[in-house]
Amino acid sequence: MPIIVTENLTQTYLSAGRPLTVLRDINLAIEAQRLVAVVGPSGSGKTTLLGLLAGLDRPTTGTIRIDGQDMGALDEDGRAAFRARRVGFVFQTFQLLPTLTALENVLVPLELRPGGREAGDDERARALLERVGLADRGHHYPSQLSGGEQQRVGLARAFANRPSILFADEPTGSLDAETGADVIDLLVELNAEAKTSMVLVTHDPALAARAHRVIQLRAGTIVSDEPSA
């Protein structure tokens, strides 16, 4: 049973007054507990596809189902609530809130759940920080952490709400090779431990090589879709 199914997904933006089709007729089915990499040159529509899959915008035409839920049937807040419960994110530029400590950053998805914070959330956040090797840095602010450390906080945050699917946008894009490799190892391990499905956009061949399946985009269409070697 695929966790994500898209049918005839097309996204068109207005660019300088003229319609610009960023994605054209994407049909995809992503199986649960798989690590899928989306690759392709700049401007091929990778980030847009990731965003649509995560319900960050409505597609111009076509449908997306995640876990059987038609994303088109939900309004903006409905999709937000869905993300809060089911989706995790890792960003290229870490995107930690600069005004919160590492621990507080990990707690954010838990606090954004419609029910708010629950008992045991603190312990979970601490455990996750420990898991990414930052047990003693919980009270540091992002500006006091190195790039690699920040991204590890980002990973802890992504898994905080026990998502069924994780989206990662160039998670190693801002890191040097060595640090990037550590982060990849951690990401793959966590993914396996949590039995999460993961879609990641990357330029990094090393990361793509770790995926179960690699989808290649060019000019808004899928040019190849094959299991990783």
Partner: protein
């Protein structure tokens, strides 16, 4: 220059708002300074019309025969003389049965010579030739509910109202606040029976002499006579000087409030440049990498700041001219003249210059780090500009900034000490605000409850985001709130001081000028209306004759004797006598007299100096007799042997004791309308003057002044307006000379006057608030990019739109809350200091008003923030994510 233009592209939009904050201050200054120039022009053109004559002579008692004959001989040489007597009295309208305390002007009708009187119906001024007619201010018609043609009773005479006076020369003074004016023929004055011994009246003679040289010659020739007879005089030039100076001082003070707005704008510029420079560090590093020197790069940004300052100043000048057009409406109520609004080029040029200079100087400090950006930053972003504390350039720039602020304050202030004081006050306020804002921010960060919902916590945490302008906004907004609140506090404290006490035993009706033979009747009248006699105070007018063994004349004629206050030596005192202290008094030194013991001094004085009773009779022979009396008995008390138990005792107020250099045991000799009475200072009192109750510099021990010519003041109260009206009507009918002051009415008048003054100041303070809001808007705009990122992130992570809005609203509200608290809190402290040391009156915090300002500033900030932040939540997150990624 081309580099400047290229760098300018991105800057205009981002710094434009900050240019506007300069504009607001420039507008305030251009408006008030142009208006001041307009006022000066108008005063120059209208001084003669305001005085209505070439020379005015004025005395608190009838002009003595010597001055009369001087005027007669002047009239013989072609000088026109017009006489007036003005005093407060009651007017009764028989038709409506209403009464009102009015300012009565008994005139021979010749005055004014210039400017003229406007009446309705036109030309009715000449009706004053008929002694049965009066003219009145329009307010009399309204308040007494009468029309032209109705009768009006003033004193013992019933006049007919021949018309209303819509324009009459003269200044608007506090005296006109006592009541509207009634103009009656001078010839009819004796028949009214209002002017009696001890009545408070001014006697005026207005002269038309011709040219100023003749006026000067006349004054020079007669200065000795006028001085010795205590006749004050005023010429057109003096009127012009006085008015120009008064308006100049007032408008300059208003200008200082405007200057505060400009300085706030400067803070806005500094804050904006600071943030802007940090966002341009990469560009700076690149320029340096390509070979630009630190100076060149600094110059590029400095020229940008100057261009923006000039643009802001230009916009401000246009706005200022527009504001200038509205000023006559805001300030017009104080002005006894029409102000022609004209463009004033110097004020406009000053505005342009000021705005530009302020923008450049305030931009310099935050621009300095630009010089030190390492070119290596192009390769390693984390390299920050090198800053060192002892940088001499930095110190020089900071010194220049302080010098500029001080120079601006001195230039705008009425005089140098005020300017220095204002600069000091600004520095102190800014420093205290800064410390307070820092402390508040620190406390908020540390003490904010972790149990609050996430959105609220995140909103508060946002105040501390990197490159936040929380401090700058708190300072700017807090300063605006402070200015407005401190006005409220001072106004509240002042008004409260003059507030009629409405507690059950406090008077609200004061009856003045009750003659001794009327006291019984007035008391009976009040009792018949069931009104209590709360206090009955006799008043005895007297002048000081001698201090110990020196007469006042001897003291005044001693060359170089400056320790005494001439005013305290020469003024007419109003004494009373009683055996107890009253509520408004505290005994500081000495002893209050034993109520049982009566002084032997009374009888002694009576025998030695012909008796106080005898003096009353002697006074009927008029002023001449009074002078003779002084001559006869002049030295008598001085060589009298002194014994502590033989002299009548007095208690003296602390201030006047200082002015006269007397203390316990000293002897003061008083001329009580012809009779000399020597007294001994037995105690020194402190008096709270700010009460609507009769208070006295000198209180006599009972048994001394009882038989002297005197008037009484009676205090009574009635909660019922209708009863007060009936009592006043009956009083006027039976005792026309007794003036009644309804304190509730007086209260309203005072409120109006203080309200008008504070309105003008508040109007100028609004510019500071506007500056504060603009800085807030600009700060929000500068951090827009950062906010957009945060909002998108939160939404991506699953935040509902409502949660995001709560985060933003919490942040804005917290900002306004902080700024409002800092400003209003500081105002409460400043108000306390002002009441304690400047006005020396008890202080009461206007909690409700301050709370309103506090909450108001929070609400305002929230609205402004919500309006600017609306679009943040409208774009779909993916849209933003794409624009951030690319």
């Amino acid at each position: 220059m081309r580099m400047v233009r290229r760098e300018q592209r991105g800057a205009t939009r981002r710094l434009g708002l900050h240019a506007v904050s300069i504009a607001v201050g420039v507008a305030a200054l251009v408006a008030i300074n142009s208006f001041r120039a307009n006022l000066a022009d108008s005063v120059r053109g209208q001084a003669r019309e305001i005085l209505g004559a070439d020379l005015e002579l004025r005395r608190g008692s009838p002009l003595p025969p010597s001055v009369d004959s001087l005027l007669d001989s002047a009239a013989a040489t072609g000088v026109t003389v017009s006489r007036r007597t003005t005093f407060a009295s009651m007017a009764l309208a028989p038709r409506s049965g209403r009464t009102r305390l009015v300012q009565t002007i008994a005139t021979d009708g010749r005055y004014p010579y210039y400017g003229g009187v406007e009446t309705s119906p036109a030309g009715s001024w000449s009706a004053l030739a008929d002694p049965h007619n009066v003219l009145v201010d329009p307010a009399v018609l309204i308040e007494l509910d009468v029309r032209v043609g109705d009768s009006l009773k003033v004193g013992d005479v019933t006049f007919q109202i021949a018309g209303s006076v819509t324009n009459y020369p003269g200044r608007v003074s506090l005296q006109t606040a006592i009541g509207p004016r009634v103009y009656l023929p001078l010839a009819a004055l004796p028949a009214t029976n209002l002017i009696r011994r001890g009545s408070r009246a001014s006697y005026l003679a207005s002269l038309r002499i011709g040219n100023t040289a003749d006026v000067r010659r006349f004054l020079y020739r007669n200065r000795e006579l006028l001085r010795s007879e205590q006749v004050r005089h005023e010429t057109v030039d003096e009127t012009e000087d006085d008015l120009t100076e008064a308006f100049d001082t007032f408008t300059r003070f208003l200008g200082l409030v405007g200057l505060a707005a400009l300085l706030l704008g400067g803070v806005g510029v500094a804050s904006a440049i600071h943030v802007y420079v940090r966002s341009r560090l990469d560009a700076v590093a690149l320029l340096r990498c390509l070979g630009a020197s630190g100076m060149t790069v600094t110059a590029i940004y400095l020229v940008q700041a100057a261009v923006l300052g000039l643009l802001g100043a230009a916009a401000g000048t246009v706005l200022g001219v527009a504001v200038q057009l509205t000023l006559p409406h805001v300030l017009g109520q104080f002005l006894p003249l029409d102000v022609a609004v004209r463009l004033h080029l110097p004020a406009i040029l000053q505005g342009l210059l000021l705005g530009t200079v302020a923008a450049v100087v305030f931009a310099l400090l935050p621009l300095l780090p630009v010089r030190r950006v390492p070119p290596l930053r192009t390769l390693r972003r984390e390299l920050e500009p090198v800053t060192s504390r002892g940088d001499p350039v930095r110190l020089a720039v900071a010194g220049g900034l302080v010098a500029l602020i001080v120079a601006l304050c001195i230039w705008q202030a009425p005089n140098t000490p005020t300017g220095l004081g204002f600069a000091g006050a600004i520095a102190a306020t800014a420093l205290v605000l800064w410390v307070a804002a820092r402390t508040m921010m620190g406390l908020t960060r540390r003490l904010f409850p972790h149990s609050a919902t996430y959105a609220v916590r995140q909103g508060v945490a946002n105040l501390f985001r990197p490159r936040n302008q929380t401090l700058a906004v708190t300072l700017a907004l807090g300063f605006g709130v402070f200015l407005i609140s401190v006005l409220l506090v001072v106004q509240h404290t002042l008004l409260r001081q003059f507030r009629v006490d409405f507690r059950p035993d406090r008077p609200n009706l004061v009856l003045f000028d009750i003659q001794t033979d009327q006291r019984q009747g007035v008391r009976a009248l009040l009792t018949s209306h069931h009104l209590p006699i709360l206090q009955e105070t006799p008043i005895v007018p007297a002048r000081l004759y001698a201090i110990n063994d020196l007469t006042v004349e001897q003291i005044l004629n001693t060359p170089g004797n400056y320790v005494y206050h001439r005013w305290a030596l020469r003024r007419e005192y109003r004494h009373t006598y009683r055996d107890t202290l009253v509520r408004s008094e505290t005994l500081l030194q000495g002893r209050w007299w034993d109520t049982a013991a009566r002084p032997r001094g009374s009888a002694a004085a009576g025998q030695r100096e012909g008796g106080v009773g005898a003096a009353t009779e002697r006074q009927s022979s008029g002023a001449e007799g009074q002078r003779e009396a002084e001559g006869e008995t002049g030295t008598a008390p001085i060589d009298r042997p002194v014994g502590s138990d033989s002299l009548p005792l007095i208690s003296i107020e602390e201030g006047i004791a200082q002015d006269l250099h007397v203390t316990i045991g000293d002897r003061l000799t008083w001329n009580v309308q012809g009779a000399l009475i020597e007294t001994r200072v037995a105690s020194i009192r402190r008096v709270n003057w700010a009460r609507f109750e009769p208070n006295f510099f000198v209180v006599f021990q009972p048994g001394v002044l009882e038989d002297a010519p005197q008037m009484a003041v009676i205090l009574t109260r009635s909660t019922d307006v209708a009863v007060r009206a009936v009592v006043q009507r009956d009083l006027v009918e039976r005792f026309p000379n007794v003036a009644t002051v309804d304190l509730t009415l007086l209260q309203r008048t005072l409120d109006t006057i203080v309200g008008k003054v504070t309105l003008a100041i508040r109007f100028m303070a609004l510019f500071s608030v506007a500056s504060g809001i603009l800085i807030l808007v600009a700060a929000l705009a500068t951090s827009r990019h950062q906010r957009l990122k945060e909002v998108t992130l939160l939404r991506t992570l699953g935040a509902a739109a409502r949660q995001v809005r709560t985060v933003l609203l919490t942040e804005y509200a917290a900002l306004g809350f902080l700024a409002g608290f800092t400003g209003a809190g500081l105002a409460a402290v400043a108000g306390w200091a002002v009441s304690r040391w400047v006005f020396e009156i008890p202080y009461r915090v206007p909690w409700l008003g301050l709370l309103a300002f506090w909450v108001g500033s929070a609400v305002l900030t929230t609205i402004v923030g919500a309006a600017t932040g609306r679009e943040l939540t409208r774009r779909p997150p993916l849209d933003v994510l794409r624009s951030l990624a690319e």
